[in-house]
C-alpha cells in the first residue's frame, strides 16, 4: 500500500518535470577577463530579445548576469584568462534561464545578507552590492556548488516572461 502511494507520487513528479519543457537556445564560453563582460551582455541581450522578453526585463537580466560574471571573474577564477565561464541560455514556457558555470572556488550567493543601505552610505562603504542586485533583479536564483566528480559550479538565474 505504502509502495503504491510513493509510486503515484513519483509519477506525478515526473509528469510535472516533463510538462516543463526546457529548450536550449545558445552557449557562450567567456574567459576570465573583465573585457569579456561587454560580449556577455550582448549575448544575453540578443537572445533574450529574440525570445520575446520585454526590454526592461532584458536590461535587468543583463545587469544581473554582468554582476554574477564580474564576481566570478574576480573571486572565483581570479582573472585567469585561460580559465572559462560557460553560459547556457534556456527557455521554458514561462521563463528565460541563464545557466552560468565556472570551475573556480565555490561561493554560494544565498549566504550573503542584503546590506543596510542607510548604514552603507553613512559609512561610505564600497563594493559588495553585486549579489544584492542579482537577487533583486531575478525571479529565481539557484546555486549548485561543484563536487569531486562534477567540478563546475552552477549558478542559475531566471526571469519570468
Amino acid at each position: 500500500m505504502k509502495k503504491k502511494r510513493y509510486s503515484n507520487l513519483i509519477t506525478t513528479l515526473s509528469v510535472a518535470v516533463i510538462n516543463k519543457q526546457i529548450n536550449h537556445i545558445a552557449t557562450l564560453i567567456a574567459s576570465g577577463d573583465y573585457k569579456e563582460l561587454i560580449k556577455i551582455r550582448k549575448f544575453i541581450s540578443e537572445y533574450a530579445e529574440k525570445s520575446g522578453l520585454d526590454l526592461k526585463k532584458i536590461d535587468e537580466l543583463v545587469l544581473a548576469v554582468d554582476e554574477a560574471c564580474s564576481n566570478l571573474i574576480h573571486y572565483s577564477i581570479e582573472f585567469d584568462n585561460k580559465r572559462t565561464i560557460r553560459i547556457d541560455l534556456e527557455k521554458t514556457s514561462d521563463e528565460f534561464v541563464v545557466n552560468i558555470e565556472d570551475d573556480g572556488q565555490p561561493f554560494n550567493p544565498n549566504s550573503v545578507k542584503s546590506p543596510d543601505m542607510k548604514k552603507y552610505f553613512k559609512e561610505y562603504r564600497r563594493g559588495g552590492l553585486g549579489i544584492h542586485i542579482i537577487k533583486n533583479l531575478t525571479d529565481e536564483l539557484i546555486y549548485i556548488p561543484g563536487t569531486k566528480s562534477k567540478k563546475r559550479n552552477l549558478l542559475k538565474l531566471s526571469k519570468k516572461y
Binding site: Y34, I38, D59, D66, S70, M117, K118, Y124, L129, L137
Partner: protein, 125 residues
C-alpha cells in the same frame, strides 16, 4: 588621458567647476579608468565636480563603486560630485540601491551649479 573604446571621458573646467562627460559603458572593465580620472582631479584639489550622464548607456555596481570611493574625501575637502542628465535606464540602477539618498541627481548643469552655489549637499529630495 587613458581612454577605452567602451568608455569615453571628457572634462571641461569652467568657473572652478569640473564638468565630466562620460559616454559608453561603465562596468568592472572600464570603472578603473574613471576612478583614475577622478583621483587625478581630487589630487589637484579640483573637487567641485559635475558628471554628465546623458551619453552613458550602461552602469553596473562597479561603476557605482567609483563614486563611493571618492565622495567621502571630496566632501571632507568641501567639494561634491553632482550628477546630471541621467537616462531612465541608468537612473533605475542608482535608484535600485538607494543612491539618490547620498548624491544630488539633477536635471541639468544649471541646477547642479545652483546646488553648489547654495551649498546644498547630499541626496536629492
Amino acid at each position: 588621458m587613458k581612454q577605452s573604446n567602451a568608455l569615453k571621458i571628457d572634462t571641461v573646467t569652467r568657473d572652478g567647476i569640473e564638468l565630466i562627460t562620460i559616454e559608453g559603458f561603465l562596468d568592472a572593465h572600464t570603472a578603473p579608468i574613471l576612478e583614475k580620472h577622478i583621483e587625478t582631479l581630487v589630487n589637484s584639489n579640483r573637487i567641485r565636480i559635475i558628471i554628465d550622464f546623458s551619453a552613458l548607456e550602461y552602469i553596473s555596481s562597479a561603476g557605482l563603486g567609483v563614486f563611493m570611493s571618492h565622495i567621502e574625501e571630496i566632501r571632507n575637502k568641501g567639494g561634491d560630485i553632482k550628477m546630471i542628465k541621467m537616462t531612465d535606464k541608468v537612473y533605475s540602477v542608482f535608484d535600485l540601491l538607494g543612491f539618490p539618498m547620498l548624491f544630488n541627481l539633477e536635471k541639468n548643469e544649471e541646477e547642479a551649479i545652483f546646488k553648489f552655489n547654495n551649498n546644498i549637499i547630499g541626496g536629492s529630495d
